[in-house]
């Protein structure tokens, strides 16, 4: 599906209206029957009346429009016959968000109201009813509003591209079309316009990914490539007959080639994650289990570097909504990072906190340090989070470095990350995965005090019993 699915309460009010129609018919017939018993001389007339009421009730029920939308749709339509309900269903079922906007007065912005919205539009804009709200309260983009005005009062259809907000940017194309005016309507006036939105995020992202990948790859591969060709030249030249120098150069070249390989792999995975950023993952992952697996996997390297990893994981586990591999990569990158900045004999603490609100999840964790949020999800009321924290006791970072940590290829000046150089993409990847998961990332650090990275993921809803 091209858009997020957030549950939106849609009340099928029309069915209750139908029920009342049937019930009142029944009551009328009952009253007539009682009257007939009491006054036998009128029985003939009353029987005829009861038959008429029953017939009318049956007629109303015969063609049941299922939801409120179609009832309203019916009101405007002149004569669509039995197909009106079908058209209503089609309108409702279309994947693209559709709004029908009523005009009101030309100079009154509060006159632009949503007369009708299909399910996709209600989902997107979190609307509760089928219509009635102000258009500006769901869509502020001035060019779209202008286009709607043009369609309403100038009868001109236009298309507008705009970028929708949110942590995950969405590119929309809005098609605005004038509709023939309806005289008999509760929509405050005659003029109507159709506003159809189409999600073009995928196309745009593909384009951007290609451009970004080329730019990043060419820029970052240039340095190791230059050094490789330099060594090759030396090996072909005066180091040709020097076995000792040759071995040394070949070792350096192997390291550089390895770095280039990792760089390409990281760039590719970053592009892939960015491409999917607007599609929230749907799986169910045990965060504690994923973390334990990663800790096991890195234990070889940590032992080699004489760093102890303390992991305190809850026994019950922590079920979050997400993609298992990507969540494992977040934990992996955070622990790798902590390892890089830990000296021999140091410790790394990994912990998991469950059932936190967003504010608790993003709160400061170091009394004397500086806290900064590197990614904050859109606020959703009632959403709880599980947090995985990774603490190292390395050199730490000053406040001014914190905002730039998740930038690609950003390096804190004057810090060595050890012999196994990173690609400079680790935290950028972490951030993008977290944004895709609608989670948050924050860092606490101070020079000399190490750093705490905290990544939070939305808790998965309890499985249906």
């Amino acid at each position: 599906m091209p858009y997020d699915h957030s549950p939106s309460p849609v009340a099928p009010t029309a069915s209750s209206r139908l029920w009342t129609a049937g019930a009142s018919g029944g009551v009328a017939i009952l009253v007539m029957a009682v009257l007939a018993v009491m006054k036998p001389e009128l029985a003939g007339w009353l029987a005829a009346g009861a038959v008429a009421v029953a017939l009318a009730t049956w007629l109303v029920n015969r063609n049941p429009p299922a939801a409120a939308d179609e009832m309203e749709f019916d009101q405007g339509a002149v004569d669509l016959g039995p197909d009106a309900a079908l058209l209503g269903d089609v309108f409702e079922a279309l994947d693209d968000p559709l709004l029908i906007v009523s005009g009101g007065e030309a100079d009154d912005i509060a006159g632009r109201r949503i007369a009708l919205a299909n399910a996709a539009a209600r989902d997107l804009f979190r609307l509760n009813g089928a219509g009635g709200g102000l258009l500006v309260s769901v869509l502020r983009e001035p060019r779209v509003l202008e286009a709607v005005d043009e369609a309403l009062f100038g009868a001109v259809g236009t298309e507008v591209d705009y970028v929708g907000g949110g942590v995950q940017e969405r590119h929309w194309r809005a098609f605005v079309r004038p509709l023939p005016a309806r005289e008999n309507s509760n929509w405050g006036g005659g003029a109507l316009a159709l506003l159809a939105l189409r999600d073009e995020t995928d196309v745009r992202r593909m384009e951007k990914m290609r451009v970004d990948f080329l730019a990043n790859a060419s820029h970052e591969l240039r340095t190791p490539l230059a050094s490789l060709s330099g060594f090759i030249e030396t090996l072909k030249g005066h180091a040709r007959d020097d076995p000792k120098a040759r071995d040394k150069f070949l070792d350096i070249m192997a390291v550089q080639a390895d770095r280039m390989r990792r760089l390409v792999a990281d760039l590719l995975s970053l592009s892939r994650i960015e491409l999917n950023e607007h599609i929230a993952p749907l799986g169910r992952v045990n965060l504690a289990r994923a973390t334990a697996d990663v800790v096991d996997a890195v234990s070889v390297i940590s032992r080699e570097r004489q760093v102890t990893i303390h992991a305190e994981l809850p026994h019950g586990g922590a079920a979050v909504t997400g993609d298992r591999d990507e969540i494992a990569q977040v934990v992996q990158n955070l622990i790798d990072n902590a390892l890089k900045y830990s000296s021999a004999g140091g410790t790394i603490e990994v912990g998991i906190e469950i059932d936190r609100t967003l504010d608790e999840a993003m709160a400061a964790r170091m009394a004397e340090g500086n806290r900064l949020s590197l990614a904050t999800p859109d606020r959703e009321t009632g959403q709880r989070y599980a947090v995985v924290t990774v603490r190292d006791h390395g050199p730490g970072m000053a406040r001014e470095h914190l905002p730039r940590l998740t930038e690609r290829f950003y390096r804190v000046e004057g810090q060595k990350s050890g012999e196994r150089q990173g690609t400079g993409l680790g935290l950028a990847i972490v951030r993008h995965i977290i944004i895709r998961h609608r989670g948050g990332l924050s860092v606490d650090s101070a020079p000399g005090c190490g750093a705490i990275f905290a990544a939070c993921f939305p808790l998965a809803p309890a499985p249906d019993a």
Partner: protein, 248 residues
């Protein structure tokens, strides 16, 4: 709002709110377009931003006029009065935001003539996106009367300050490294300052939204970043100190 006995009164109030939201949308678009014109060196877009600013000014005047009319004719009290005053306050914050966006666009016009400075404009873009998100959040909070969302914008004001300080350092490094970049870097620095100001206006709006809903001032200290090396403790007239581009 539907309890008003006189229907037109409620309509007028709703119209005022709707006008403010529309103005907010326009201001948002101005900020986003201004940032994009910097990032893509898009001269046409920058010119469009500069031209569109007078529409914001007109909306501002219009909202103020309507609010004054409403106060004079209907004498609103309690929450209605707060809504009316809130609309006026928001309108002036948004108008100011538009001015700052216009200033960014003007500087983008000048920068487009100089050599491209990729990494720096990227930093501006990043900060700009952060500020636009805050503006969007706070306007969403206003349209939906969501106090929680407004509070979260108010509480995270230090993020913008952090970005500003980081950018300040980055720019200084560039200027020290290559004095030929000083002109361009100075423009970028003012852009960053303008963005930081826009962030402050978003915080102001959050305060107004809080006041409008609860009738109480926001109490407590706003989280503040440690001032960077270039930050004077006292406010300085940043805009007037800039070269000719800042003549708004």
């Amino acid at each position: 709002m539907n309890q008003h006995t006189v229907k037109a009164y409620g309509d007028e109030l709703n119209q005022l709110t709707a006008e403010v939201v529309r103005m907010g949308g326009l201001a948002e678009a101005q900020v986003a377009d201004a940032i994009e014109s910097v990032a893509r060196r898009d001269v046409a877009l920058a010119k469009a931003v500069v031209e569109r600013d007078n529409r914001l000014d007109a909306l501002h005047r219009d909202i103020e006029k309507k609010a004054i009319r409403l106060i004079a004719l209907r004498q609103p009290v309690a929450s209605d009065l707060r809504r009316t005053l809130g609309a006026m306050k928001l309108a002036s914050d948004l108008e100011r935001t538009g001015d700052l966006a216009k200033n960014i666009a003007k500087r983008a016009l000048i920068l487009a003539e100089a050599e491209p400075m990729q990494p720096l404009t990227r930093s501006i873009e990043r900060m700009g996106r952060l500020v636009s998100n805050r503006l969007r959040d706070v306007l969403d909070a206003y349209t939906a009367s969501e106090i929680e969302r407004a509070l979260s914008v108010w509480q995270t004001d230090d993020e913008v300050d952090e970005h500003y300080n980081a950018l300040f350092r980055e720019l200084l490094t560039y200027m020290m490294g290559d004095p030929r970049t000083i002109t361009a870097c100075t423009h970028l620095l003012f852009m960053a300052k303008n963005l930081e100001r826009i962030g402050d206006h978003a915080t102001n709006i959050a305060e107004t939204v809080h006041y409008e809903i609860t009738g109480e001032e926001m109490l407590g200290e706003r989280p503040k970043a440690v001032p960077g090396p270039g930050e004077e403790p006292t406010p300085t007239p940043h805009l007037s100190a800039s070269p000719d581009a800042a003549d708004d």
